[in-house]
């Protein structure tokens, strides 16, 4: 399963989704972890749906974020990406640990 979290500083959960500067992407299958720049952060319109498309392309299954806008929520739902709510400012590792259940 691939997990994504919006982040502005690369360390903590950002407070916005679509205009987050980057996304932390974690894959528990191979334990890979990357910070990918969100190219849609400066879009005039449609930043939320653009970010949802970006996560879909990356094959993300679960988004961990403090909030998503209504259109982004619809796009994520259509792509089968589940949204787990977390708190802005939380350390990325901590926010992931809240959601990821270790496999036996």
């Amino acid at each position: 399963m691939k997990y994504a979290l919006p982040t502005d500083d690369g360390k903590t959960v950002g407070k916005v989704f679509g205009r987050a500067k980057s996304f932390a992407l974690y894959n528990d299958a191979d334990s890979s972890y990357v910070i990918a720049a969100n190219e849609g952060a400066n879009a005039e319109h449609g930043a939320g749906t653009g970010a949802a498309a970006f996560l879909t392309e990356k094959g993300v299954g679960i988004l961990i974020a403090p909030e998503v806008g209504p259109k982004a929520a619809a796009a994520l739902s259509a792509a089968g990406i589940r949204v787990e709510i977390t708190e802005a400012g939380k350390a990325l590792g901590e926010a992931m640990a809240d959601v990821i259940v270790p496999s036996k």
């Binding site: 400066n42 005039e44 930043a47 806008g69 802005a88």
Partner: protein, 315 residues
């Protein structure tokens, strides 16, 4: 700065003219007046940016704002084949004065780029188009103001709201409060105004359209899982409307911080360059009590920062 250390309060209404800017200005002035508090007013209602009037602002710095790429046609490369004219959905491409090529009228161009895609000669080029400017201003009433102005024909966007809020966050220190004056409606600029806000103040005009638009805003606020409190404005004109507004808020579970009566004195205060806090009489008392209540919620959030329980006895 990650923007999580300060407290952001967004004032929105759904309907335009409900009293957002006046209430946001009064709140910002009240917070800035507290010793040791710093307040930044982020005017994100860019199509009708009037925070500068409400707060009596004096520009300190200005910066260019680039929305996205603009498009233009190189006259010497254009063969006037007309394909771009066919492709343009906004009728923004016209014959040049010598009729030998086409030109793009910037005020009509929506910057979709269809001309760039269709031109067989590569005559369409992109350039960085300045869409407006944004400003930092000191105000006579305390809060520092960030606002923007757009060139004619340019529209506001989530991006511009983000630019204004980013600047406000850079100016704000650790313990500051940012008051965001949102655009009307529930579209892109409003979503960008509400996103990440610690508290949303929903201004409900006690009228048919005011209640209807506020209800749509409530749905947006709920979908974004933001904490919200409401202020009713222009009450006392119709007991029926007042009661419908109260019921709508109660059903939505939004606590009501106060009701402001319709009173020409409020408008007169603005015409003489003051905020609503300056007036006396019953309306003045209501304004002060309501702003005091909201201020209390904001300050307690600032202290606790997370999971604030808002007293619901006002319902």
């Amino acid at each position: 700065m990650d923007g999580t250390s300060m407290t952001t309060v967004s004032v929105a209404s759904g309907k335009g003219g409900a009293g957002k800017t006046s209430i946001a200005a009064a709140l910002a002035v009240a917070i800035a007046a507290i010793p040791g508090e710093k307040c930044i007013f982020a005017d994100c209602d860019v199509d009708a940016a009037n925070g500068a009037i409400a707060l009596d602002a004096k520009e300190r710095e200005r910066f260019p704002y680039f929305a996205g790429p603009g498009f233009s046609i190189k006259a010497n490369a254009c063969t006037a084949c007309g394909r771009c004219v066919q492709a343009c959905r906004f009728d923004a491409i016209r014959k040049s004065a010598d009729r030998q090529s086409y030109v793009i009228v910037p005020q009509l161009c929506e910057r979709c780029g269809a001309c760039l895609d269709t031109c067989p000669k590569g005559a369409v080029t992109m350039y960085e188009k300045q869409a407006g400017e944004f400003y930092v201003a000191d105000t006579a009433r305390g809060p520092t103001l960030v606002f923007a102005e757009l060139e004619p024909g340019e529209d506001t966007s989530g991006k511009l709201v983000r630019v204004v809020r980013d600047r406000a966050e850079q100016l704000a220190g650790e313990a500051s409060v940012i008051v965001v004056d949102s655009a009307p409606g529930i579209g892109c600029p409003v979503i960008a105004s509400l996103s990440g806000a610690n508290l949303v103040i929903i201004v409900v005009e006690a009228s048919v359209s005011g209640i209807k638009d506020a209800r749509r805003l409530v749905a947006l606020v709920h979908s974004m899982k933001r904490k919200a409190i409401a202020i009713m404005n222009k009450t006392g004109l119709s007991a029926d409307m007042d009661s419908k507004a109260r019921i709508m808020l109660a059903e939505a579970g939004i606590p009501l911080a106060g009701e402001l009566p319709f009173d020409p004195a409020l408008r007169a205060a603005e015409e003489s360059g003051n905020t609503w806090l300056s007036i006396g009489g019953e309306a003045g008392d209501q304004v002060k009590a309501t702003i005091e209540a909201v201020k209390g919620v904001v300050l307690s959030m600032q202290r606790k920062k997370l999971n604030v329980v808002i007293p619901k006895e006002t319902l």
